[in-house]
Symmetry: D2
Amino acid sequence: MTSVAIVYHSGFGHTQALAEAVAAGVRTVPGSTANLIPVADAEARAAELDAADAIIFGSPTYMGGLSAEFAKFKDWTSSRWMQGAWSNKLAAGFTVSASWNGDKHNTLYQLLTLAVQHGMVWIGLGLPPGNNSSTGSIADLNRLGASIGAMGQANADQGVEGIAASDFKTFEALGRRVAEAAQRWRDEPLAKAA
Amino acid sequence: MTSVAIVYHSGFGHTQALAEAVAAGVRTVPGSTANLIPVADAEARAAELDAADAIIFGSPTYMGGLSAEFAKFKDWTSSRWMQGAWSNKLAAGFTVSASWNGDKHNTLYQLLTLAVQHGMVWIGLGLPPGNNSSTGSIADLNRLGASIGAMGQANADQGVEGIAASDFKTFEALGRRVAEAAQRWRDEPLAKAA
Amino acid sequence: MTSVAIVYHSGFGHTQALAEAVAAGVRTVPGSTANLIPVADAEARAAELDAADAIIFGSPTYMGGLSAEFAKFKDWTSSRWMQGAWSNKLAAGFTVSASWNGDKHNTLYQLLTLAVQHGMVWIGLGLPPGNNSSTGSIADLNRLGASIGAMGQANADQGVEGIAASDFKTFEALGRRVAEAAQRWRDEPLAKAA
Amino acid sequence: MTSVAIVYHSGFGHTQALAEAVAAGVRTVPGSTANLIPVADAEARAAELDAADAIIFGSPTYMGGLSAEFAKFKDWTSSRWMQGAWSNKLAAGFTVSASWNGDKHNTLYQLLTLAVQHGMVWIGLGLPPGNNSSTGSIADLNRLGASIGAMGQANADQGVEGIAASDFKTFEALGRRVAEAAQRWRDEPLAKAA
């Protein structure tokens, strides 16, 4: 079994709902488990993070960057960094905000930078951009045209019901991609011995 | 009079059309002139750039960053950098690509980084994000929710006709903002002497 | 009088010491005042921030980005953003960490992104890079070669005594530059009427 | 055998020398080959790039970003992107400039963004920061404290002789890391069948 941890902060429920979509995507891959870990529980559940084959980071975009709650988790990870505990694990990231662009790219840069500080290997979204031709629509996968990670959008005056169905599918695709990569990346000492 | 130079590369006409919108915005401000300078002409028209109160940089987003033609201009500006020729001028930037997000943020980071290397002062877009509530629409100013500069979007299979009217207005607003800032920023020795 | 607020988080004293250098630089400019505001006091001292002509943001670089304490301040500023309270003010930024590069650039990108979301105007460091020729040394101003803002470096096992004298001078230069810019940028309606 | 392509632009020889160090690092891993491809030859040698298990991108930092020559290569890769030719390959990056910081971080962001647009998987430097304690020195591996990729520094008035020995070792370590990752990442159908 390969295990994928999804560690996230959700302020108003959007990131929670999308984290669950990522987990659902992980679980479509036979032999993969998904652990959803809110950042508030990360310290108590550090063993799960340390044991994971891949960690997917999720934060809403607040004022152009990581939420303070996610940043608190980020700073806490220095304890794992000093031990090299996450070195060579796979990593990926996702974010959501009200605007279509809205500096989400910047949030994903933070997640990437955190991951490479830990010596992790970054799995991008891996989907072609959707919704960018005259025959496209917001029903397309990757309707925002992201590449570093998954980006979602929901109107500022709406809750989870404001998230497009295509965003849920896009986040599922990220989870599936990371789970498949984790199986490919996992050391297989017996197979190698053969 | 304050002068605003708009130096840009356009591969398929979209950036050209949006650069003209920026220039139109500059010209709505009494006492302001706008010079449109394609990057291919920048070396020959260096004196206009050196004399400008503000320079607005525009590049399409190709493969997640500045077009090669714009990058060639960027490298050429090292000749101005060595003389400090653009130090303390105002700067701003814009980009366009087919995707709604599409790593445009990254292109604007490049333009900002170029500007601060020159010791320039960066004027962001200065518009609240539009199109991010249930009463919003793509007719809103700043429909993509950009902040560092102006972002436009046009479908990959369309020409200039694919650019939303709201994008033209957004780019005009950037030009107007920079022209107003240039008047505020300009040294006014006589007024000060009074 | 023009007022410059310096709002910062310091975990181990380095950022505090450098914030004081920035303030000292502001105070070298006649007609300028500097207010040092730790992020923990920002909410209580919001009126000072709202009244400032310029705000300089300072955060250590922790795990490649803003400290959680600074990020908490960042998120709180959404209350100012909704009112447009800081629109068109000047902004600048600084950071410090143990490594020479150490992803400090990324922290400054966060500060810039925060500023432009508020509609602020960004003042970069404005110093040529030092310590980058065979006749240079770490005694040079801007010994790290930063451009977006001021970068300091102090060894991980040292306190404030580990900060190079040239870093203090570099941070003073940033304060002076912002104070001078604030005077230039300030509306002077009487002078204009003359 | 796994193959690693190193595609780079060198203006004055520094990037060339460091690209060779990366290649040397690749070749320390049994079963790995390294192909050095100057960007000017990339189109003619596209088949080598398409066949590689990993591609390492290298550009000097000019005016805060990719050199124009590298950007031209970047734009050309849209032809590979449309075919998904590099999807799921490994990627990594390196840069060099005269300043210790000097916005090199920004150049690596460009390389990362290019890679994830192609659906590639990003291998960071994976070395702890050196030269950041009172017992450290510029002889340390990763003396600049980079994480996204390898960063080198050479004085502006020096040629290849100005590159520190530790930088050559750091770049070798990047090559070795990517080669090891490529073997781990490679599909091993026979082993799996066993």
